[in-house]
């Protein structure tokens, strides 16, 4: 028997939420076969079987939060699927006695539903185990299935771009599809129709999984950090022209060149000049930690919710290197394959709601960082240049900063600097390391 405990899947985590149990009691598993999905601070990790054998007992259920080191299940190593059903107590071949009438695999932790609803789920090709029940004691109702199916249908094209072109377009046009705003919907989670006649249907979604973590994190951020947001607008024509020029070279090397690497570059240069924006506050010791490394988080919209993969040492990377890394991280994020390594250690976050739209926002700072920038829609606007109305590609930028540490003046100077660098990319190159 092998006791399978919750390992420390990420640095310093001490607990995780069991998002999904992929096996059942009595099931045989191969070594490395996924057993469970746990959700730690911000990653979903798949835990796989350390050995080949039979799942003897499962001690946890979905939705439960358990501490590192807790025994999650027991695997009977060395027995295979068939051996399980065939295992004989010593000598006599005696089904009467070896087969218990009430099979121990009567594991009630499977999702609760009536036989009819189960049948319906099969007909609708839905995995009933993924549907959160809203019925009594968490029973999955017929309505739950329909809501779940609706949601899948609605969210599927947007969140799982199946065609390669869809993917590419999204990456190219903008940068990484992201948002600090809660633009994502939880993938799982089912709605109840708690209908009221006068107000129409109300959907109730359970707050769980990554969404719940995001919620907790956001609450923490806004309760601790006094947020101030300042907004500015950038003229993007030169940068657009530059990108057009470089793009063919990037294409040749199979690199998807978006605007984001340029932003990161400008940001890093500005951060070096305004060290209090690349800092954090240690609330316990009342110390300011100025960071001399530049790990830039890029808030990314994934099917699972908002995740912030981090580009480490952004100041040491070329535009092309950054572009490649963003592409790679975005892919991992969408596939839910980010590890703790990918999402921790950021010093500053960029959120890009541009592809979605919006003029300005109050992005919430990714605690313990002290500032966050969100980039908005790039669009042609009438602007006045040398007393003349002209059309330019404009983009707004919102900076939220921690007013404990950063004053309004500093913040505006900081965005001014970014503005300067991006509006005239030649400067950017002049400053680049």
């Amino acid at each position: 028997m092998v006791e399978f405990k919750l390992p420390d899947v990420g640095e310093g985590m001490h607990e995780g939420e069991i998002v999904k149990v992929l096996v059942r009691t009595g099931e045989s598993v191969q070594q490395d076969q996924p057993l469970l999905e746990v959700q730690t601070d911000k990653v979903n990790a798949e835990l796989s079987a350390p050995v080949t054998g039979i799942i003897r007992e499962i001690f946890i259920s979905e939705g439960e939060t358990v501490e590192v080191g807790t025994t999650l299940l027991v695997i009977d190593a060395g027995t295979e699927a068939k051996a399980e059903e065939t295992k004989l107590p010593e000598k006599v071949v005696n089904p009467d006695k070896t087969v218990n009438f009430a099979p121990a695999r009567a594991d009630h932790r499977r999702s609760l539903a009536t036989p009819y609803v189960r049948q319906l789920a099969r007909e609708m090709k839905l995995d009933i185990e993924l549907v959160t029940g809203t019925g009594a004691a968490g029973r999955v109702t017929e309505e739950d299935l329909r809501q779940f199916a609706n949601r899948l249908q609605k969210s599927a094209p947007a969140k799982f771009p199946t065609s390669a072109t869809g993917n590419e377009r999204q990456l190219e046009e903008s940068t990484v599809p992201i948002g600090t705003e809660p633009v994502v919907q939880p993938k799982t989670g089912t709605a109840t129709r708690a209908a009221t006649s006068s107000q129409g249907d109300i959907e109730r979604l359970p707050l769980k999984g990554i969404r719940k973590k995001i919620a907790e994190h956001m609450v923490k951020s806004v309760t601790i950090i006094p947020h101030v947001t300042s907004v500015d607008e950038l003229e993007m024509d030169q940068l657009r022209a530059l990108r057009e020029k470089i793009k063919p070279h990037a294409d040749k090397r199979n690199i998807k060149l978006t605007f984001l690497p340029f932003f990161i570059k400008a940001l890093v240069i500005a951060l070096k000049e305004f060290p209090t924006l690349n800092a954090s506050i240690d609330e316990r010791t009342n110390e300011i930690l100025l960071k001399r490394f530049y790990h830039i988080g890029i808030a990314t919209d994934t099917p699972e919710g908002l995740i912030v993969p981090v580009i480490k040492d952004a100041d040491h990377k070329s535009i092309f290197q950054l572009a490649e890394e963003i592409d790679q991280l975005a892919r991992l994020a969408r596939e839910g394959k980010l590890t703790m390594e990918h999402i921790t250690g950021g010093t500053f976050t960029i959120s890009n709601v541009g592809p979605i739209g919006g003029l300005q926002a109050t992005p919430i700072i990714n605690h313990p960082e002290v500032a966050i920038i969100s980039l908005h829609k790039m669009e042609k606007r009438w602007v006045v240049r040398e007393d003349e109305g002209v059309i330019r590609w404009m983009m707004n930028l919102s900076l939220s900063f921690d007013h404990r540490l950063i004053d309004g003046v500093t913040a505006v100077r900081f965005t001014n600097r970014i503005k300067e660098l991006l509006e005239d990319p030649n400067l950017l190159f002049a400053e680049m390391v």
Binding site: T86, N94, A102, A106, T114, A137
Partner: protein
């Protein structure tokens, strides 16, 4: 055309006409598949011809006969002289019951366009099957096949059954007289059911069971009630005792048994019944031709759709690992048929109910208390005794109890078990409740008709909640105001 050279084509062949096979064939017919059902003996399989039905016919008869002796207490006076039992008449009646059911199955097969072929089937290749039908040999070419050949009694080599002194359950149910003394090797459900029936009919019965418990499949506190009754019926129950040797001489059988407690001893009886398990009928099917995998005991492992390792070959019922019960076979058969017809069916329920027609009967579904605890549940459980149920007393059936096991936190029902009169019918409510994922309150709040035995569930559920009406509640914790 030489028969055997040209294969008859069909969508599906079903091999074996037991409760698994015929249900599958009928369902396939309903779903407009062409289907050939091959049965080497009689439709209905073990269940109808040699198992469930004949044994329950005997058990019912024995029960009625046995009751006669207690009728006096109820004021019924029988004419003087002892009632007698005429086994040949019983055989005639039993055959009429079985016949009627056989005809029913036959008729239903016809009505659903199932071609029934009588003969012994063997796989020739992965899409052809040969059938020996008397003097002929026919071949069928199929797209899918369902193996439903069932099981037969397991008889160890030193206990050769001879149909006269050393019997299997089939022989036992074909007897024309009640043996004066009867030893039963194996205290499982078949042994205990038949043993108690014969004891009621007048046999002096000795049960010899190798493990520590009779009815080892069930929880000890349930089988305890049966053990009590067995003793009252004058049966001898030897547990932890093994039969080493059997010898037939002078019209009787002598069994040499050993146990740690009594060492070696021998008993001599008129007849011996061997019921120590069943083995699947998979040996002569030519499964190797198709590459269908079996385990070392000969069972065919299947998925929840009934599919074997060969995706177009299905196996259902007693040939698959799991409890050898007719209702499981039927469910698997229907699911396999539906899956073949493209419907999204699955045997995905852990709730396989069991019924044991002993005295008293035992029936249950879901987990026992021990199993639930083993699975990590915090358990709340309560029992309600038959003797507190009005109907039970009015029926002179005060023995037994119903037990309800629930998860302490969610109050979801985890298991329902009952030992007592008519437990076999009462468990239907339990199966439904568990399948519907009911909470104990759901049972407690459902109005149960009075006076009926079904009220034992109501009261057991209320007892879990701490407010049963007809017993003093041990736990007052859950009393809600």
């Amino acid at each position: 055309m030489v028969v055997g050279e040209v294969a008859v084509e069909t969508d599906v062949v079903v091999i074996g006409g037991g409760p698994g096979g015929y249900a599958a064939a009928i369902r396939l017919g309903q779903l407009e598949k062409s289907v050939v059902l091959i049965e080497k003996e009689v439709l209905g399989g073990v269940c109808l011809n040699r198992g469930c039905i004949p044994s329950k016919a005997l058990i019912h008869t024995a029960g009625e006969y046995h009751k006669l002796s207690s009728l006096n207490k109820l004021g019924i006076q029988l004419p003087t002289g002892k009632a007698t039992f005429h086994m040949p008449s019983w055989q005639t009646w039993k055959s009429s019951v079985v016949d009627q059911l056989n005809k029913g199955v036959d008729y239903l097969c016809q009505a659903n366009n199932v071609t029934v072929v009588k003969g012994k089937a063997t796989f020739l290749s992965s899409d052809r099957i040969g059938v020996e039908t008397g003097n002929d040999f026919e071949t069928y070419k199929f797209k899918q096949a369902i193996i439903a050949t069932g099981s037969r009694p397991y008889i160890p080599s030193f206990l050769k059954t001879d149909g006269e002194y050393i019997l299997d359950s089939t022989d036992m149910l074909a007897l024309d007289e009640v043996p004066e003394t009867l030893a039963i090797i194996g205290g499982g459900y078949i042994g205990m059911e038949l043993g108690m029936a014969f004891a009621k009919l007048g046999s002096q019965v000795t049960i010899i069971e190798a493990t520590e418990h009779i009815l080892p499949q069930t929880a000890a506190h349930l089988s305890q009630e049966v053990l009590k009754q067995a003793k009252q019926l004058g049966m001898t129950v030897k547990i932890a005792t093994k039969v080493e040797q059997a010898e037939v001489a002078n019209g009787s059988v002598t069994l040499v048994c050993t146990s740690e407690k009594n060492g070696s001893e021998s008993i001599t009886v008129h007849k011996t019944l061997v019921t120590i398990g069943r083995v699947p009928n998979t040996g002569e099917l030519g499964l190797a031709q198709v590459g269908v995998e079996m385990d070392e005991r000969g069972y065919i492992p299947v998925t929840s759709t009934g599919s074997t390792n060969k995706s177009h070959i299905y196996a259902i019922g007693d040939v698959t690992p799991g409890p050898a019960l007719a209702h499981r076979a039927t469910k698997q058969g229907i699911v396999a048929a539906e899956v073949i017809a493209g419907l999204p069916s699955s045997v995905d329920s852990p709730y396989v109910p069991y019924v044991i027609f002993t005295e008293p009967q035992i029936a249950g579904v879901g987990m026992t208390r021990e199993e639930a605890e083993l699975q990590g549940h915090k358990v709340k459980a309560a029992v309600f005794p038959y003797r507190a149920n009005g109907r039970a007393l009015a029926m002179d059936e005060g023995e037994g109890f119903a037990e309800v096991i629930v998860d302490q936190e969610s109050h979801l029902l985890l298991g329902m078990h009952v030992v007592g009169a008519d437990a076999s019918n009462l468990i239907g409510e339990g199966v439904l409740a568990l399948e519907l994922a009911a909470r104990v309150e759901d049972v407690a709040l459902t109005m149960h008709p009075h006076p009926t035995l079904s009220e034992v569930w109501l009261e057991a559920a209320e007892a879990v909640l701490g407010h049963a009406i007809h017993v003093v509640n041990k736990s007052k914790v859950a009393v809600s105001k």
